[in-house]
């Protein structure tokens, strides 16, 4: 794939140029923004290899649909776990393929500027692995920003004013909470309770309650279809779940309803609420007063669960707003951060 692209660009009179690239490397999804092109990739961060030759068989949606269904010849890798890189080679491949997907793009990676977003509370080692990734891709100019900062900008908050704002990003691998003011993070917190954890809880629930083993994909589908946090559900939605019976070992199909899933989801969301409280506790009082006026913003895939704002409002008692494009907020924010290189000094207004 990559080879054909290179040939193409040679044929063209235009020589490849370096561009600003922003990548939101999430546990669940990878989003790539290229300056002048927009968001080029928005797909699950999954990659499938041939076991023997190590060739890439599929990436993104294709690879995601293989999860739990592969045979011995295929190795399916989620290169990120809990928000950080666990398989650097696979991550590199995934990004390379994402960048080369669009044809007619004259992109010279080595002279580009690359912005990678990482969760708030990562260790130095984990941060370094992001830098390594940049080096492996052949980019000299790499810088790392926290997802929460990019997410806040992408959600349309003016973080460069002295007016404090708070945002919660419930992603796939980690939930990040941050209070921002004057262009940078004042207080932040992170917990690894996020999308994948919810899926795991749903799997556990079905196993213990219904004696049904289901795969990750099914669990995710259930969460997306009927996941809810509303305290009062008028007409519970229903969906089916199919898997293997724990006792008999035979395939089995059952229906699950919204109330049941809500009771499963409430627990992890309780701990997210506790985390929010913790962050609020360490927030300077002057910013607290801004937050109570402005409300708290929720972005990330978890913001799409029905009734998230209502749930947090009941627990914490402030106004919660949902980000308009919760899934692309972070990568939208990279657009602006690439302009000022993450410096709080420079306000990257258009």
């Amino acid at each position: 794939m990559a080879i054909t692209i290179r040939k193409q660009s040679k044929k063209d009179t235009k020589s490849p140029v370096g561009k600003n690239i922003g990548i939101d490397l999430g546990t669940a999804n990878i989003l790539v923004y290229v300056e002048g092109e927009g968001i080029m990739t928005n797909e699950p961060s999954v990659i499938a290899f041939d076991y023997e030759t190590n060739d890439v068989l599929a990436t993104g949606k294709m690879a995601a649909s293989m999860i739990g269904k592969g045979h011995h010849g295929i190795k399916i890798v989620s290169p990120l776990t809990q928000g950080v890189i666990s398989d650097i080679e696979a991550t590199k491949k995934l990004i390379e393929i994402s960048l080369h997907r669009v044809e007619n793009i004259h992109l010279d990676i080595s002279s580009s500027t690359l912005l990678l977003c990482c969760p708030s509370e990562v260790t130095q080692l984990e941060r370094d692995s992001f830098m390594d990734l940049g080096a492996k891709l052949g980019v000299k100019d790499v810088f790392i920003e926290q997802e929460i900062k990019a997410g806040a900008i992408g959600s349309g908050l003016d973080i460069f004013s002295s007016n404090g704002s708070m945002i919660i990003d419930i992603g796939g691998g980690s939930t990040d909470i941050g209070v921002l003011s004057l262009g940078d993070i004042v207080v932040s917190g992170s917990t690894r309770i996020a999308g994948n954890y919810f899926d795991g809880e749903i799997m556990d629930h079905l196993q213990y309650k219904h004696g049904l083993l289901i795969g990750k994909k099914t669990a995710e589908r259930i969460k997306v279809e009927i996941g809810s946090l509303r305290s009062k559900i008028k007409e519970p939605r229903e969906t089916w779940a199919s898997g293997r019976d724990v006792v008999t070992g035979l395939p089995k199909k059952i229906t699950v309803n919204e109330t049941e899933i809500r009771d499963v989801l409430i627990k992890p969301f309780e701990s997210i609420a506790t985390m929010i409280l913790k962050v609020l506790q360490s927030t300077p009082s002057e910013l607290s007063s801004d937050i109570i006026v402005n409300g708290i913003y929720v972005s990330g895939g978890g913001a799409m669960i029905d009734g998230v704002d209502e749930f947090f409002h009941n627990r914490i008692g402030m106004d919660f707003h949902l980000s308009r494009r919760p899934l692309t907020a972070v990568v939208d924010g990279t657009k602006l951060l690439l302009k000022n290189r993450g410096s709080y000094f420079v306000k990257p207004t258009d």
Binding site: L182, Q281, I292
Partner: protein, 342 residues
């Protein structure tokens, strides 16, 4: 610029207060009138913001910025910040070179009861700016001049300056101070008291900016003050989450009264030590009230009720000190020369 060649000495008057910094430049007027706050970038040490912009950052910054108030209780507590702030202000003046600065005469106003060392620090500050000709004057003297009172007559004048960090009380006659006192009870002390009060009664922690806002919006010392209840935001001490606070004029009054009572105690103390001939003058002409806190509603009446002497708030309580430097620069603080007649 022609004028500069005729009289090539520049005059610079600085009122370096705890709350506000005001700078007066001869032939230009007041060139700076903003809060004395400065914000640095921690890593590079560069100035991020100063004055109004930095003031808005108080209590709101992330750890890459440090916001500093160079003065505490009326005296310089952070030399580096004070210097940076003055440099920033002087940098705004066009066509000002280092050579000009070395030919500048500078007057800095300070509270009445400061130690010799604290005064020297002020002079040091100017020296560091490459200004060689510096002298220090007391704020009340400058304040009286700036409010348009002729202090060079044989007429006693009493000035009470309730500023940000200190309250100065003094009696002036024949162009200089007869006696003066200072207490460190003023604007920022009142803010702290309000913060403490809200913390105690409602278990909510509020920031510096909020308490200042409370004082400005609700501060009222009139006996029959209209009770206004305003809503402010702070942080719940127990739960840690943001919370609304309702605060009324009466509550703020109850907090401010003890502070003002202490100021009144100081005023009566000064009056007691005043020579009787001057006392008569003061009784006739009244007491002048200057400084930001004299803008609190009902201050005049409050003082009058307790001291039984007419009290008048000057027309320019915030800027009178720096306006007074205009005259002090002319006579260099010499009581023999009346700059009003120059």
């Amino acid at each position: 610029m022609i004028a500069a060649t005729v009289q090539d000495k520049l005059g610079l008057g600085i009122d370096l207060g705890t709350a506000n910094l005001l700078v007066f430049l001869e032939r230009k007027g007041i060139i700076f009138d903003e809060p004395a706050v400065i914000a640095f970038d921690r890593e590079s040490g560069k100035i991020v913001a100063a004055g109004e912009d930095a003031h808005r950052m108080l209590g709101k910054v992330h750890d890459k910025i440090s916001v500093v108030k160079p003065l505490r209780n009326g005296v310089i507590s952070d030399m580096r910040a004070a210097k940076a702030l003055l440099n920033y202000v002087l940098g705004k003046i066009e066509n000002l070179t280092e050579k000009d600065l070395s030919k500048t005469t500078c007057v800095i106003c300070c509270p009445s009861e400061v130690t010799k060392i604290e005064r020297d620090v002020m002079i040091d500050l100017a020296m560091k700016m490459k200004i060689t000709d510096v002298f220090i004057e007391e704020e009340i003297k400058s304040g009286a001049l700036g409010s348009g009172v002729d202090i060079f007559k044989s007429k006693g004048v009493m000035v009470v300056d309730i500023g940000g960090g200190t309250t100065d009380v003094g009696v002036i006659s024949f162009g200089d101070i007869v006696l003066s006192r200072t207490i460190r009870r003023a604007g920022s002390f009142m803010d702290d008291e309000i913060t403490k009060y809200v913390k105690k009664t409602q278990n909510v922690e509020i920031g510096e900016l909020t308490s200042e806002k409370m004082k400005i919006e609700l501060g009222d010392l009139q006996v029959e003050a209209k009770n206004v209840i305003n809503r402010y935001a702070g942080r719940d001490m127990v739960k840690g989450i943001p919370k609304w606070v309702m605060l009324s004029t009466h509550e703020v009054q109850a907090v401010l009264t003890p502070v003002f009572d202490e100021i009144i105690k100081l005023v009566t103390g000064v009056l007691k030590d005043t020579p009787p001939e001057l006392s008569a003058d003061i009784y006739k002409h009244g007491i002048l009230l200057t400084g930001g806190c004299s803008m609190i509603r009902g201050v005049e009446q409050y003082f009058q009720d307790r001291i039984q002497v007419p009290v008048k708030v000057v027309h320019n309580p915030l800027t009178c000190v720096v306006e007074g430097t205009k005259y002090l620069l002319k006579n260099r603080g010499d009581y023999l020369v009346n700059p009003l007649q120059l």
